[in-house]
Every structure is written in C-alpha cells, then in structure tokens.
C-alpha cells in the first residue's frame, strides 16, 4: 500500500468513515511506517483541537420563541396544491423527471403518441380536396374501437357525426436487459390499472433486483400498491435484499408493522428472519411480541426473539 493512499484516507479513518478492510490495511501500514503514523497522530490531534469548540445548543428561550413564531406563521400558510407541487421548484421537477423511470416511460409513450398523431394529421392534411365533412371514412378495424362517445345526425341530410375512441396497441419484444423493456416494466409496475399486469411486471422485475432503480420501484410497490397480490410479489422479490439494503429492510419492517393484510405481515415476518438479530428488527419484534393484535404475529415474534442471544 502506498503512503499517498494512506494520507488521503487518514481523515476518513479519524472520522470513522473507512470500511473495515481499508481500516485494517491502513492500521497495518501505519504500524510499520513512522511517517504515516505521525500523520495519523496529527490528524487525531486536529480532531481533538477542533472539538475544543463545542456545539452550542440553542437556548430554551430561542427555541421557544422560534417555535412560537413558526406556529403563528403556519396559521396563515397553506400547503401547496397540485399545481404548486409541479411548479414549486423547476430544478427538483426536472430532477424527478430525469430520475423517475415511470415518468420517463410516460414521456417515451407520449412521444410515440404525439409522433403518430402528427404523422396522421400530416398525411390526412396532404390529401387534396378532402374536407372534414366530406371526408371519406376509412373504417377502422373493429378491434381498434374501444367505445363510441357520441352520435350526432346532421340535420337535413343523411350525414352523421360519430365520435369514437380507438386504441392503437403496440407490441414490443426484447430482452430484460433492454432499457426500453425495463422502462415499460417499471411503468407497468407502478401505473397500470390492471393488477394482473402489475403482478406480471413485478414478477419479471424480480430478476433485475441488482439494479437499484428496480429495487426502488419494488419498494414503492410494497408500500403503496393497493393490491395485496402485487405487494406480495414485491415482498417475495425484495426478501433477498433485506440483509444488504436498509431501504428494503425498512419497507419490509413497515409492512410488518402496518400492512392491512395479515398474510403479508406474516410473510414479512418470515422474510425478516435472517436479519432478526439486527437491532432495528429486534426492537420492532419486541414491540410486536407485546402489543400486536394478531395472535400469530405476537407468538412468532416471541419465538424469534427467544432464538436471539440476550443483549446486556
């Protein structure tokens, strides 16, 4: 290991920000390099020196007056509405667009739709001698008609205006590694009105959980999807990350504590078994073992706790 690397990382060592293996290597190096040992000592002394200036707690008077002032202001402040949410901070809004796969998928689909619409208008506008009333109707395929909105006979003629909805279903195929396929799946997981489609998409997304965006989408599904079947699929997929990803663990803990479906709560308890020794899980189990209304959850929480070594 080079001294340069050590010197760049000594401050992280002093502030307890080094990973265990790096910390071990650094300690080993310092033990045999007097220059780096001196640098480490200097960094530790620096931290001690800086600590001589203590953080001053705000005085109770200041805190109280700040709270009173804020409370008065809140009396006359309204929470932002829908449009405010969109327009509050353009920077944040654009960041959300950039990082949100679902919104990106909507934009892609809107782009497709707009493109098709524009092309259709350009094509139909290019036909000479055709106006709106006398337009030759090209009958749409029956399968493309999703509904008739209105039928308006034109008085004094045998003409009729019919407003109808069509849908242009597109099909695409590709690998799960394809970014476009992933976007569609993420869109389906979070936005589709059909819970069966959501189940299918979550089922497929489970194979891509090494992608943090996918995990984020499944955490969202686990927290907010109104269909227990979809939530169950998400929980099933996320189970393998409960050990490594604290957001996943929190979401599963939230399911265990507050999901309306007892079956899902039981499943969450099973998923958390491998990390039952984790302090956050243990604390939740201790609470559930005493207070939960569900007898099974109470009993099983007690059983899991009984398997753990006691903490002094």
């Amino acid at each position: 290991m080079k001294c340069e690397w050590v010197r760049q990382n000594i401050v992280l060592h002093v502030y307890d920000e080094l990973a265990d293996d790096a910390r071990y290597e650094l300690d080993q190096h310092v033990a045999r390099c007097s220059d780096c040992a001196a640098e480490l000592q200097a960094a530790q002394e620096f931290r001690t020196t800086m600590a001589t200036v203590k953080v001053t707690e705000p005085s109770p008077n200041l805190l109280t007056s700040s709270r009173m002032r804020l409370q008065e202001a809140l009396e006359t402040t309204q929470q932002g509405g829908f449009w405010n949410r969109l327009t509050f901070d353009p920077g944040v809004w654009f960041r959300q667009v950039r990082f949100s796969p679902a919104l990106a998928a909507i934009l892609v689909l809107a782009g497709f739709g707009g493109g098709i619409g524009a092309t259709y208008r350009a094509m139909s506008g290019a036909q000479p001698g055709v106006d709106r009333v006398d337009r030759t109707v090209v009958p749409p395929e029956e399968s493309n008609i999703t509904g008739i909105r209105s039928i308006t006979p034109v008085a004094g003629s045998n003409q009729v205006n019919i407003k109808y909805d069509t849908v242009s279903t597109r099909e695409t195929a590709g690998s799960l590694n394809d970014a476009h396929i992933q976007q569609l799946l993420l869109f389906a997981a979070q936005n589709n009105v059909n819970s069966g489609v959501r189940v299918d998409s979550v089922d497929l997304l489970k194979q891509r959980l090494n992608d943090s965006r996918v995990r984020e989408a499944l955490v969202y599904t686990l927290r907010y999807d109104n269909n227990p079947g979809v939530r169950s699929k998400a929980l099933d997929g996320l189970g393998s990350y409960v050990r490594d990803d604290v957001r996943v663990r929190d979401a599963v803990l939230e399911t265990l504590v507050s999901d309306a479906n007892p079956g899902l709560r039981t499943e969450a308890l099973r998923v958390l078994e491998p990390v039952r020794a984790d302090a956050s899980v243990r604390t939740v189990l201790e609470r559930l073992a005493v207070k939960d209304q569900n007898q099974f959850i109470r009993r099983h929480s007690r059983e899991l706790l009984a398997q753990l070594p006691q903490i002094d």
């Binding site: 800086m50 001589t52 200036v53 953080v55 007056s65 809140l74 932002g80 509050f88 504590v257």
Partner: protein, 234 residues
C-alpha cells in the same frame, strides 16, 4: 383532527404523545450503537406515518415532525450563521418551505434528510451571500478592530473559574473560527455536518445532492485547509 389539538401548545401536545428522540446529536454521544440504529429505524417508520398525515393536511402531525427536528435545525443554523436572529430566520423559512411542499415529498429519502437538505441549502445561500458581502464591504470588525465571531465569544462552561484556561480557549476558539471562515461554503457545511453534527458522509452527500465520494473529497480538502490555516495562526 380535533380543533383543540391545534390549539394546544406544542410542549403540551408533546407530553400527550410521549417523548421523541432528537436526531442529529453530535458524534460521541452516549448510548449503544444498536440502540441508536433501532431508534433510527423506528424513527423513520414513525416519520413516514407523520408525513402521510401531514400530506393529508393534518397540521398537528407536521408540528410533531417539527418538534422532532427543530432543535437540530436551529443548532445547525446557529453554528453556520453565528447569529441567533439569522438562525431563527433560516429555521422559519426551512419549516415553512417544508410545510408548503410536504405534499410533493415522495419518500425518496428520509424526512430527516429532506429537512436537512432544505436547511443546508438555505445555509449555503446565507454563507455565499456573507462571503460576497465580506469581499465587497470588508471584514466585519468589533470595537477593538478584531473580527467578530460567535465562536470566539462562546462561553465555555468547562473552564469555570479558571481565567487563564478560559483565555486560552477563547484564543483557540478565535483561531478555529477564522480558519472555518476561510473554507468555501460547501466545505464549511460538509465539515460542520461531519465534525460537529456527527453525520455519516453518505447522508451528508444525500443532503447536498451529491455523492458520498464527493463528500469525502470535500471533507479531505476542508481538513487540509483547516490544518494549514491553524498551523499558520499558531
């Protein structure tokens, strides 16, 4: 939400709902790591419930969130502005901003990170303005022609009745204050959040909308500068 709930002073409501942990304590505070982690996790879950209630328009829930974090927010603002008046302004602006926009909070990070992000951004703006003012109008001085800083004049209770030690501490505090003033606003915020508030650099990165790696580099630069400046001043 019952009307009387709104009318209750916050302290009273706090007693009724039970005590809550105060986050953002400085590093080295007592308590086991496990207990701290468990507390954090439960706190995150509780926060989620409160944020959802606040999003549905429950002002009492928002006020509960304020109570959980306002001391830490005020402490940070006080450290960075060095003025009670300005700290109070930042406190007010931060929580009003949070209240107006809690509806757009999407749980992509913890509420704690979100509110700290708002506060650190306000403090960054403040420090930038302060730096510009200093460059334009010169350094603010006291009656003796010295730079004035809250850090210089913070009373240290530990020194008690020992005037000599008190004087040395004040001198050191003054040097540290000058060294901190020489940092860029971003370096200052990273150092403050890490050293004085004991936050992990990953969290600091999230708060500043940057990566953990960038936060590490910024901390490295800040400590190098501080060490250099303090060595010169001594």
């Amino acid at each position: 939400m019952p009307a009387e709930s709104c009318a209750l002073p916050w302290g009273e409501r706090e007693r009724q709902r039970g005590p809550r942990a105060t986050p953002g304590r400085s590093a080295g505070s007592d308590g086991s790591r496990q207990g701290h982690m468990a507390g954090e996790s439960l706190s995150r879950i509780d926060d989620t419930v409160l944020v959802r209630e606040a999003q549905r328009g429950d002002r009492a829930a928002f006020e509960d969130l304020v109570r959980r974090y306002d001391q830490a927010v005020l402490r940070l603002a006080l450290r960075l502005t060095g003025s009670e008046h300005e700290a109070q302004d930042i406190y007010q602006e931060a929580f009003l901003k949070a209240y107006r926009n809690v509806g757009s909070f999407r749980f992509e990070c913890s509420f704690y990170t979100w509110i700290y992000r708002i506060v650190t951004n306000l403090c960054l703006d403040h420090l930038r303005r302060k730096k510009v003012r200093k460059e334009e109008a010169g350094v603010v001085t006291n009656a003796d022609g010295e730079e004035f800083s809250v850090i210089d004049h913070a009373a240290d209770e530990r020194s008690g009745a020992n005037p000599e030690r008190d004087l040395l501490r004040r001198e050191l505090g003054s040097q540290i204050g000058k060294a901190l003033d020489l940092l860029t606003p971003r370096e200052r915020i990273v150092f403050e959040l890490k050293h004085y508030h004991g936050l992990k650099l990953r969290t600091v990165g999230e708060m500043l909308n940057t990566t953990e790696e960038t936060a590490k580099n910024t901390l490295f630069r800040a400590t190098q500068k501080l060490r250099g400046t303090l060595a010169e001043l001594r």
